[in-house]
């Protein structure tokens, strides 16, 4: 069974790009346009990994991470924030909310796959 990954980004091109990279690597990918939509999708189905942008309308990435960590099913699911924002304060907030890692945009696709492979096996 292929692993499923939820890709969250309000920027369509960025989201499609991340989704395609992961799909090309053999993962099943679902997309969400903001944190709130992602949270709904995550409640219907438990994904094996979530890659989320931070700066989004309705619900930002760190808030999404915190909400997901509040769901029992997401206890052991890796949650990676992918953002152009890399300030130490924000990263610390992400970490505190329960993020597994923080990746800066723009990113190297190979590096992203590397990370994903380490968490989804």
């Amino acid at each position: 069974m292929s692993h499923s990954i939820l890709v969250v980004d309000d920027t369509r091109s960025m989201r499609k790009m991340v989704a395609t990279i992961l799909q090309n690597a053999g993962y099943l990918v679902e997309e969400a346009g903001d944190g709130a939509e992602a949270l709904e999708k995550a409640k219907v189905r438990v994904f094996d990994l979530v890659v989320t942008d931070h700066n989004m309308p309705r619900m930002d990435g760190v808030t999404l991470v915190r909400a997901l960590r509040g769901l029992p099913e997401y206890d052991g699911v890796a949650l990676i924030v992918l953002s152009t924002e890399t300030g130490a304060d924000l990263k610390a907030k992400g970490r505190e909310a329960g993020a597994t890692g923080w990746m800066a945009k723009p990113f190297d696709p190979e590096k992203m796959l590397d990370i994903v492979r380490q968490f989804v096996t």
Binding site: M1, S2, H3, D10, T11, R12, S13, M14, K16, M17, T20, I21, N24, A25, G26, Y27, K43, V44, R45, V46, D53, N55, M56, P57, L71, P72, E73, D75, G76, A78, T84, E85, T86, G87, K91, G94, R95, A99, T100, G101, W102, M103, A104, K105, P106, F107, D108, P109, E110, K111, L113, I115, R117, Q118, F119, V120, T121
Partner: protein, 647 residues
């Protein structure tokens, strides 16, 4: 199967089209938001919207290596950041500069798309934004506190520092308490960055003792220049793609292995959820739209009933309407796996905490329930599962001693029977202890005969404040007991039943209707008005003679039905010759009405939503003749007399 390494993005240009389209949308939004911005009183939401759009364009441009766009959107973003954080007052020229910049980005996007032959010159726009961002903050008032001091600061040093600061800005409100344990405080009106101020202060005191609060910016003095002001620290336009992991993958995998049991539960959920989603042709629809549809069909059902009253039976119309109603209600149905999915983890965590060993099995997760019910049944079920782990199952040692397997089993199942959904929570634990319950009842002064039938004894645990747990554990026994479970289920027109045997475990069976939107009802008439009683709460009805009613203390009456005296409830001074015996929470009452009209399905509408909350009334419905009929709140009426009277 392990996913194969991919050659990254492959052809990034495949995404260019999406990016161009998206960038155009964002730029159009930026432009319209900018044009609506009111300098002097800019709308924070509008600034945030512009920021997000520019930020999005920057992010994607970075991925496509459109470096000119990245460079311009970066300074654009810096200026916006100052504005939205209120560190710079929006001026007309800011709006103009941003409009020009967005035009240039648009031209650059057009060039990248191949729509224009020459690349626009972006430098002027970039320089303009940079200039505005750099002259950013006007003078701000910084409140500085240094202390508590470990030892006094050398007087000469302090003087030099204060003189230096006075040279940078305007010093005020000095409070100097330069002794060990004292504090040096002052305010400074400064056109510059906090970092600069801090670096001066650090020459004299340790960084950890410095506290700086900056007030909202004061109005920028004309011609005030702050060459040292720096835009807030932001990421470099092109990052090296650095990744920071908060947890090492090896530690993470280790943790996951420890959670294998939970994983299994999770897969179950996955499968159930997968099955629910398996139909490829599914779409997402806003719940409000569906609720509206349900309401409209409800109106249609009423219209159909009205037509029948006027024209006689219309068999086809009735059938089609009924089918349509069922189909619409089916849209709101969701599988109960939405609730069940949380229990494997709950059971695992609880059992670990309590030193018990549990296998949780799930069955019938695909059983469907109305969405509104799913939400309201979650808490009661969670409580039942908690109870099963906490009070139901014994410790592994006790189980072994009783000749049972070490691991206890909790089985959750759901099934549909007729118009009801039956949910069972079964454990193979110690079962209820009749003697202990009776002892506890005696302690609490609850009236029960020592030889009462089992079922009556088990009912005691549904009484408020009843708990036989020897120790009040962290898990259950914290006030929220079975009484709350029963009350919540009753509110859904459902029932809770319990079967148990000492040493053989306990089964709690919850039965709820498939939907809350329609109830089977008995309609009754009081003084020419029609009222509705949920059929599930009607026990029987009978005609009574006036002399059968016994007056009791106060102005209450009782009616003797077989061996039981029931309180009599009336609507105001309405007399009524027929008693409808209603039941709720295990108690009964006799409601006096003038006539029994019939039985039918009614579509429940909220009274609160359309009118206001009325004690004794749980909702309303519209009858076939178009009149509104109120639905009695049976638990309320059984509990207390109606306080309102008929007009």
């Amino acid at each position: 199967m392990s996913p194969r390494a991919a050659k990254g993005l492959g052809d990034a240009s495949a995404f260019h089209a999406i990016f161009f389209e998206e960038a155009d949308e964002h730029l159009a939004a930026v432009e319209s938001l900018l044009l609506r911005l009111d300098p002097g009183k800019p709308d924070a939401e509008a600034l945030n919207g512009i920021f997000r759009a520019v930020h999005s364009i920057k992010g994607s441009s970075g991925m496509f290596a459109f470096t000119e766009i990245v460079a311009l959107t970066h300074v654009f973003e810096n200026l916006l950041d100052l504005l939205r954080k209120d560190e710079r007052a929006l001026a007309r020229r800011d709006v103009d500069a941003m409009l020009r910049a967005s035009d240039v980005v648009k031209a650059q996007v057009a060039f990248r798309r191949g729509a224009t032959p020459a690349a626009p010159d972006m430098r002027a726009a970039e320089a303009e934004l940079r200039e505005l961002a750099a002259t950013g903050a006007g003078p701000r008032r910084f409140a500085v506190r240094l202390g508590p001091l470990a030892e006094p600061v050398a007087a000469a040093e302090l003087d030099t520092m204060l003189a230096g600061l006075a040279g940078m800005g305007e010093l005020a409100n000095r409070k100097i308490d330069n002794v060990a344990g004292g504090e040096i405080a002052f305010e400074l009106l400064l056109a510059g960055a906090e970092a600069d101020l801090r670096s001066v202060l650090e020459l004299v005191v340790a960084a950890s003792l410095i506290q700086i609060d900056s007030s909202a910016p004061t109005v920028q003095a004309p011609g005030a220049q702050a060459p040292d002001a720096q835009p807030p620290k932001r990421e470099a336009p092109v990052d090296d793609g650095s990744i920071e992991l908060f947890e090492a993958p090896s530690a993470y995998r280790e943790r996951r292995r420890g959670n294998r049991r939970r994983e299994e539960g999770r897969r179950e959920v996955d499968r159930a959820a997968g099955a629910a989603q398996a139909d490829a042709g599914s779409i997402r629809v806003n719940v409000e739209k569906i609720d509206r549809l349900v309401n409209l069909v409800g109106e249609l059902v009423i219209t159909e009933a009205m037509l029948e009253q006027q024209h006689g039976p219309l068999a086809d119309l009735a059938r089609h309407t009924r089918n349509l109603q069922e189909a619409v209600l089916a849209i709101r149905m969701v599988p109960i796996s939405a609730v069940f999915s949380r229990f494997p983890r709950l059971a695992r965590e609880l059992s670990q905490r309590l030193g018990k060993e549990v296998d949780l099995t799930l069955a019938g997760e695909a059983t469907e329930l109305d969405r509104g019910l799913i939400e309201r049944i979650t808490d009661p079920l969670t409580h039942l599962v908690r109870n099963a782990v906490d009070h139901g199952l014994e410790t592994p040692e006790a189980r072994l001693a009783a000749g049972k397997p070490r691991r206890g089993t909790i089985a959750l199942s759901a099934s549909q029977r007729g118009g009801k959904v039956i949910i069972e929570v079964r454990d193979d634990g110690a079962g209820l202890d009749r003697e202990r319950i009776l002892a506890r009842a005696a302690e609490r002064g609850m009236p029960i005969a020592a030889d009462a039938p089992d079922q009556e004894v088990w009912q005691l645990i549904f009484e408020p404040g009843f708990s036989t747990a020897d120790s009040v554990t962290e898990v259950s026994g914290r006030g929220v007991g079975m009484d709350v479970v029963r009350r919540n289920i009753k509110l859904l027109n459902g029932t809770v039943a319990l079967a148990t045997g000492k040493g053989r475990g306990t089964t709690v069976t919850v039965s709820v209707p498939l939907t809350l939107a329609i109830i089977e009802a008995m309609t009754v008439g009081v003084r020419g008005e029609t009222y509705v009683l949920p059929l599930a709460s009607v026990v029987e009805s009978r005609r009574v003679a006036a002399d059968e009613l016994r007056r009791v203390v106060g102005d209450g009456c009782t009616l003797r039905v077989r061996d039981e005296y029931l309180p009599v409830r009336r609507l105001g001074d309405a007399h009524g010759e027929i008693a409808v015996i209603i039941e709720a929470d295990g108690s009964r009452a006799a409601l006096m009405v003038d006539e029994l009209i019939g039985q039918q399905q009614v579509v429940v509408k909220s009274l609160e939503g359309n009118f206001r909350k009325v004690a004794g009334i749980s909702g309303a419905t519209i009858m076939g003749d178009g009149k509104v009929a109120l639905i009695f709140d049976v638990p309320h009426i059984v509990r207390e007399n109606l306080t309102w009277t008929l007009a």
